[in-house]
Structure formats: C-alpha cells, structure tokens
Amino acid sequence: MQVQSSQSISVRTSEDVVAVRQLVRKGSLLLGFTIVDQTKIVTASSELARNLLIYGGGGVAIVEIVQNGGRSGLRLTFEDQGPGIPDIELALRDGYSSGTGMGLGLGGAKRLSHDFEIDSAPGKGTRVSIVRWKAL
C-alpha cells in the first residue's frame, strides 16, 4: 500500500472530533467518494475519534490517502496511550460498552469500513486502523 498524503489531528476535546470528521470529509471529497461512501467513512471516523477521547484519554487521528494496485482509498488510524482493551472480541460486540456510549463504536466502525485492524493490550494503548476504498 502506497501513502499519497497524510495529515494528523490531535484529539483532546469534542471539538477535535468535529475537526476529524471535517478532515475525513475533505479527503473523501478529494477522492471522489459517492455520498453514501462519504457518509459511511465520516461516521466511522466520528465513532473512533470519540473512542479516543472517552476510552483512550485523547490521542491522535491520522488521515491518509492510499493506493493499492490501482485502487485508491482513505485510511484512518486512531492511536491512544490509554488503558488498552483487555478483550477485543468483547469490545467489538454490539451493545458492549465499558463507558457511557452505546457500545456501537468499534463494531459499527468496522461495518462501515472495508478493512479494519485493531492492536491493543492492557497498559499499552490502542491503535485502530480502517480503510474505505473508492468504488471502481
């Protein structure tokens, strides 16, 4: 996978979550995503940016335009140095929440993306990466 451009935002407040949404929208417009694709990736970014804030105690969101074998897409990475997730499978389950949310964030973001990767361990923070590819 080739990275064409990369921008990052520090997420510390709920206003920063809005800034992440706006940056992701900009990227998806640049790539010429359909309205539905734009809405899906922006919504996924909002869920994951909020997770950074609520569960990770803040972190960084990285928005990248990537290419792979002639396909282009938007890759979003969310990293925090928070407490980490002890049971990832459980955290991905709908309705499971250790905080105040709906418990839809992780599972929902996964459904709204094409590729989904998560790396987390107790005490080591969490890194979630998603990609949505442009429809050919």
């Binding site: 539905v36 809405t39 909020r50 709906m102 459904r111």
Partner: protein, 124 residues
C-alpha cells in the same frame, strides 16, 4: 398553549453542544406547553451513535413531558449509514420534510382538545 416547536439543526454539532440542545429543548417544551416537536436534520451530513442517541433521548423525554417528536429530513445516505452502524432508531417517528412532519404530529394528537396545531414556534 399546545404549540409545536420547530428545531432546525444547521451545524455539525460537537457532543457537548448536542447535550445542551437536549437540555434546552426539554426546558422549551415545558415553557411553551408544546405538544409537538419537529427536529429538522436535513442539513446534517452525518448522524453518528451520539447524535442518534440524542435524538432518541429527546423523543423519550418529550413523551414524558406529554409531547410527540418527529424527526424530519433525514438524508438517504444518513439512513443507510445509521442502519449499517447498528442504530436503526426504533421508536423514533420520522417524516420526509417539515410539512409531512406537521401532518404526522396533527394526526398523532388528533382529538386532543388542548392542541392548537396552528402555531409553530421556531427555536434557535
């Protein structure tokens, strides 16, 4: 007495703003003795789980305060995304636009003598 409140959400709201809208709106329902609330979300390009939950909360709180809520103007892309997200917004009454929402409210409150559906109070 028995007015309808019209709330038009025009900005990409951060979470604290969404919470304050929820609080303000419940206060306004009581202040205006409103029987109906129309929430126009046609300007919203995205509804995530937080905003979805806020809309649900408003509908539930309004019901406890004897008012019906109709969410109007949801974009098709937002509807598709909400279902895929896992938030089908069950229990929320919707209409395609404000006019249809007004009709839905009038029907919901039909036969209730305290309702004067003629007046609409817009809320900023």
């Amino acid at each position: 007495m028995g007015e309808f409140l019209l709330v038009t959400i025009q900005v990409d709201m951060h979470d604290r703003l969404a919470m304050s809208l929820q609080d303000d709106l419940t206060a306004q329902i009581v202040r205006h003795t409103a029987r109906g609330v129309l929430i126009d979300i046609s300007a919203l390009e995205m509804v995530d789980s937080f905003i979805g939950r806020m809309l649900s909360n408003i509908a539930n709180m309004a019901r406890l305060l004897d008012a019906e809520t109709v969410v109007v103007g949801m974009r098709p892309s937002v509807a598709i995304t909400l279902v895929e997200l896992g938030m089908p917004m069950r229990g929320i009454r919707t209409a395609l636009d404000v006019e249809k929402g007004m009709t839905a409210l009038k029907i919901a409150l039909q036969g209730d003598p305290s309702t004067d559906a003629g007046s609409v109070v817009p809320i900023d």
